[in-house]
């Protein structure tokens, strides 16, 4: 992995290409400008709904990689472990939505639907390309980069006890980023924690 997360985020927020790794403009279907995953979400319920939609996308991606990619034992164990934790995040969010009378959105049903959502979030890699460990890990790192960004933005918007909950999930997503990088680079701390702030670029607005 040649690019750092800082490069990734900077490229994604600038709408530029980040060669070799997660975030970049994808295939002409991506947004031309910065990602704004919480744009228009102003109430706690609306923000939680966006977070839930993203968790479902993450789960779909992890499940797809677990099912279809050729992975080493370490990578497979890591993916399975993180997938279980993403399910926990979704369960927590689902309970909060239900409590507010907000219907839980349906998860992506096809690879092409999920790939379109990834493209809209400026994740360059696609599920239908993630056949091998390297591409699969890069895809998941790109998704976890977006996860960090979304939760970071949510913490700013949410009210009451919800920012702390979102921070607990953000901490876990950031650890996933580090864990996936560690699989690729034998735990190299410089590559696994590339910036003193996660995500490096904060609010695109």
């Amino acid at each position: 992995m040649s690019a750092t997360r800082r490069d990734l985020i900077r490229s994604a927020l600038a709408g530029g290409a980040a060669a070799g790794l997660g975030l970049a403009i994808g295939d002409g279907t991506a947004l031309a400008g910065p990602i704004a995953p919480l744009q228009g979400a102003n109430t706690d319920g609306q923000v939680l709904l966006r977070l839930m939609e993203f968790e479902q996308l993450e789960i779909f991606a992890y499940e797809h990689v677990e099912r279809t990619a050729v992975l080493s034992g370490e990578a497979r164990a890591t993916v399975s472990h993180f997938l279980a934790q993403e399910h926990t995040h979704a369960a927590v969010l689902s309970a909060l939505l239900t409590k507010r009378g907000v219907a839980v959105p349906p998860p992506p049903s096809t690879v092409s639907e999920a790939d379109a959502k990834l493209a809209a979030l400026l994740v360059a890699r696609r599920l239908d390309e993630a056949h091998h460990e390297l591409t699969a890990m890069h895809l998941l790192i790109g998704i976890e980069t977006v996860a960090e960004t979304i939760y970071h933005l949510a913490i700013e918007k949410l009210t009451g006890p919800l920012p702390e909950l979102a921070a607990r999930i953000l901490g876990c997503e950031a650890q996933h980023w580090t864990g996936l990088s560690s699989v690729l680079h034998d735990g190299n701390p410089v590559l696994a924690v590339p910036s003193e702030f996660a995500p490096f670029a904060t609010n695109p607005s």
Binding site: G171, C172, P189
Partner: protein, 188 residues
């Protein structure tokens, strides 16, 4: 207390690494002192936020002190991680110090003399660093719950996420599961 408009939060986070390097000088003597490049930030720091930020700054100094003291006693993977994480803690010191300045408060510039115990070997040093980083994540979680506005919470959470990553690497160095919980707990 409104901060003077100037640098955006993104710029704060982007350039504070350099500022942080200067900030630690008085505390640990690690790096030569220089003037912070962060004099203005576009964030609002209200009076109730000040003691919270001061507490976080003390923790950051303690972490930087601990990493500095640990480096001579580490080798290999632990040494590589400690050197890198020290640099990042300096960045955190710079960011939190700048927030305090924006609130009209002169930030503390010393780690004091934290009691870190007497780890006997490299493994115990790593365990100590793991404990301190875990305490830091707990403190940042508490801060996120208490800070008065969303922008401050967002800055605190950006540091929190990095401390959580430090915890993961230090757990890995000890042969522990790097991501033990789906919800960061602040407990070892």
């Amino acid at each position: 207390m409104n901060a003077a408009a100037g640098l955006s939060r993104r710029r704060l986070l982007g350039v504070s690494g350099a500022a942080g390097a200067a900030a630690l000088a008085a505390g640990c003597g690690v790096l030569p002192a220089k003037v912070s490049t962060l004099q203005k930030i576009a964030l609002t720091v209200d009076r109730p936020d000040v003691p919270i930020l001061e507490g976080l700054l003390r923790l950051e100094y303690t972490l930087a002190y601990a990493y500095t003291a640990s480096i001579p006693r580490l080798n290999g993977y632990g040494l590589q991680a400690a050197r890198w994480f020290l640099r990042q803690e300096l960045g955190h010191i710079g960011a939190v110090s700048t927030l305090l300045k924006s609130g009209g408060v002169k930030p503390n510039t010393s780690a004091g003399s934290p009691h870190l115990g007497n780890p006997g070997n490299a493994s115990e040093v790593v365990a100590l660093l793991h404990r301190l980083e875990t305490e830091a994540t707990r403190a940042y979680l508490e801060a996120v719950a208490k800070l008065s506005n969303g922008q401050l919470r967002a800055v605190a959470s950006a540091i929190l996420a990095t401390e959580a990553q430090h915890v993961s690497i230090l757990r890995r160095a000890q042969g522990l599961e790097p991501v033990p919980s789906a919800l960061l707990t602040g407990n070892a």
